[in-house]
């Protein structure tokens, strides 16, 4: 039994566990050589509840999916993972960074829950805790990437961020241009990031650094770990994609639109 809502869980035969992770409610039942998973989402994207119980009945309107295995292991691994597409976050209010200034913005994004079972453990399901809207991120409607969209308050203090099943990313933005920089939207390449747990239980991804200068090719990179203010961290899950992929520079550097304020 894990001390957190994630980890490896021991299931007795025909037992059921129930998770409430923000707006996601999840039922997992162990059968013989089979796992049944049912889930549903509430309509509140800001739900911060985290709850774990045993033996909660599956409501009639939730139709579970059956996952069959050749041998019946009794362990289920549930891990928080990053999103499977980049997240485009737009500040709720315009954020402007004056010339030659820097700022660290903290942004929270919904997590994905990954289920693995069998011996050895095989991943069989990946469910988002919130069904985020899709959005298009690109120069035009032909070249670009399909992303998830979210609004952020672009906090300058991580303490004010919403808790719950979310992962926080610190983005250090440095405006190296002569003109003020208006941050209209920021694409976080979450599939290339990992999830870390801080001592206070909060989940973090690696920090990202963006240097904006339209005259020079924009430089953007993912740091090796969460920011210093996260404190001591332990890695919970790895990235979905190779972090060295070229996509990152494109995603982050194209993310910021410089507008003279």
């Amino acid at each position: 039994m894990s001390a957190y809502w994630w980890g490896e869980f021991d299931f007795k035969p025909y037992s059921r566990r129930w998770w409430r992770l923000g707006s996601l409610t999840l039922w997992v039942t162990r059968m013989t050589n089979e796992w049944q998973v049912g889930h549903r989402w509430s309509s509140d994207p800001f739900d911060e509840t985290i709850e774990l119980r045993e033996g909660v009945e599956l409501p009639g309107d939730v139709e579970p999916r059956r996952y069959l295995f050749s041998s019946g292991g009794r362990t289920l691994r549930l891990l928080p993972r990053v999103a499977d597409r980049p997240f485009v976050t737009r500040p709720e209010m315009p954020v402007i960074i004056p010339a030659n200034e820097q700022a660290t913005l903290y942004m929270a994004s919904p997590l994905w829950v990954e289920l693995a079972a069998g011996d050895p453990l095989k991943v069989f399901a990946s469910i988002p805790v919130w069904r985020a809207s899709s959005t298009w991120f690109g120069e035009d409607t032909i070249e670009g990437t399909l992303c998830y969209a979210t609004r952020t308050r672009a906090r300058l203090d991580p303490a004010g961020l919403r808790r719950g099943p979310r992962v926080t990313t610190a983005v250090f933005v440095s405006n190296e241009h002569r003109e003020p920089l208006r941050v209209e939207r920021l694409a976080l390449p979450l599939p290339q990031m990992s999830v870390f747990r801080a001592a206070d239980g909060r989940l973090w991804t690696e920090a990202a650094t963006v240097a904006y200068d339209p005259d020079v090719k924009a430089s953007a990179k993912i740091d090796s770990g969460p920011p210093r203010e996260a404190g001591a961290v332990t890695r919970v899950s790895g990235p979905r994609e190779d972090p060295r992929a070229n996509l990152l520079a494109r995603a982050l550097s194209a993310a910021i639109r410089g507008v003279t304020g």
Partner: protein, 292 residues
């Protein structure tokens, strides 16, 4: 020329038959060897060229390159066999020239399709698996061949479109771009609160996770019709996964939302006047539900 070839042909046959049986066996063996080597070499070079083409292009390009190289090598092999048999190639090629002209006239359509196929390959307006619309037909491309393109329509019909037709007509590739717009045309009654309609539609787009936030959904008044205000609601969705499901769902949600908020739809009104000069004018109003 043909007569000369025929004479040449008889001479060649007579010459060959006049040889010793042993010599004939040697010639036959040599011809067989050329054919076998030609076949092996054709296959080898064909697959090699195909592999090079595959690295640079599509599956159909690879197939075509392989075939061209194979038939080219086989053509050379046949010529070599004829040479071994003592056939005068110069005469034969002359005859072949005339034959080509004759064949060219006879197989004009095939040749045109073949060349159109090559142009299509160069231009690549679609590839296998894409959904295209041509001449009122919509279907997924099964294969792009030398003479034609094969489609499977959504009602599971097999359609063969000649390459020449494809070159001449307008092709719409429905799946090439990653995102696509859903256009919903509404006819609202005069007197409806357009701001309210705009808010309802915007909220509807925001609530559906498959409707893209960017490009932003647009609600615009298209024109003021005779009986209704024509409003267009334009939203975007991914063209990769379940586009038609999203389109159908958004249409349904719009219909429901309008019904729920009692937004009146503009009906077509036709005034019919009748009666004679003596009686008063009779006016009737015909109300027709617009087609959805």
């Amino acid at each position: 020329m043909i007569a000369a070839t025929l004479i040449g042909k008889t001479d060649w046959l007579a010459e060959l038959l006049a040889k010793e049986p042993d010599d004939i066996a040697v010639i036959a063996l040599r011809a067989l060897l050329i054919v076998v080597v030609g076949l092996v070499l054709g296959r080898l070079l064909g697959s090699l060229a195909g592999r090079v083409a595959a690295r640079r292009g599509s599956a159909q390009g690879q197939m075509l390159t392989r075939r061209f190289v194979f038939y080219g090598v086989m053509g050379v092999a046949v010529l070599m066999v004829l040479d071994t048999l003592g056939v005068e190639l110069g005469v034969l090629l002359g005859a072949a020239g005339i034959l080509t002209v004759a064949l060219g006239f006879a197989s004009q359509t095939s040749a045109s399709n073949l060349i159109s196929g090559l142009f299509l390959l160069g231009e690549r307006p679609f590839s296998v698996g894409d959904v295209i619309q041509i001449g009122g037909r919509t279907g997924a491309v099964l294969s792009v061949d030398l003479l034609s393109v094969k489609l499977r329509t959504f009602d599971n019909l097999f359609v063969r479109v000649p390459n020449e037709t494809l070159i001449k007509s307008e092709i719409v590739n429905l799946t090439r771009n990653p995102i696509r717009r859903i256009d919903i045309d509404l006819r609202l009654a005069y007197g409806e609160d357009l701001d309210k309609v705009r808010t309802i539609l915007r909220e509807l787009a925001e609530d559906d996770p498959d409707v893209l936030e960017e490009p932003e959904p647009v609600v615009w008044v298209d024109r003021l019709g005779d009986s209704a205000i024509h409003v267009r609601f334009l939203v975007w969705a991914s063209n990769r996964q379940g586009f038609y499901d999203v389109r159908s769902r958004v249409h349904e949600l719009v219909a429901r939302a309008l019904q729920e908020h009692r937004i009146a739809v503009g009906y077509q009104r036709v005034e019919v006047e009748g009666g004679d000069a003596a009686s008063s004018v009779v006016a009737a109003e015909v109300v027709a539900r617009p087609p959805v």
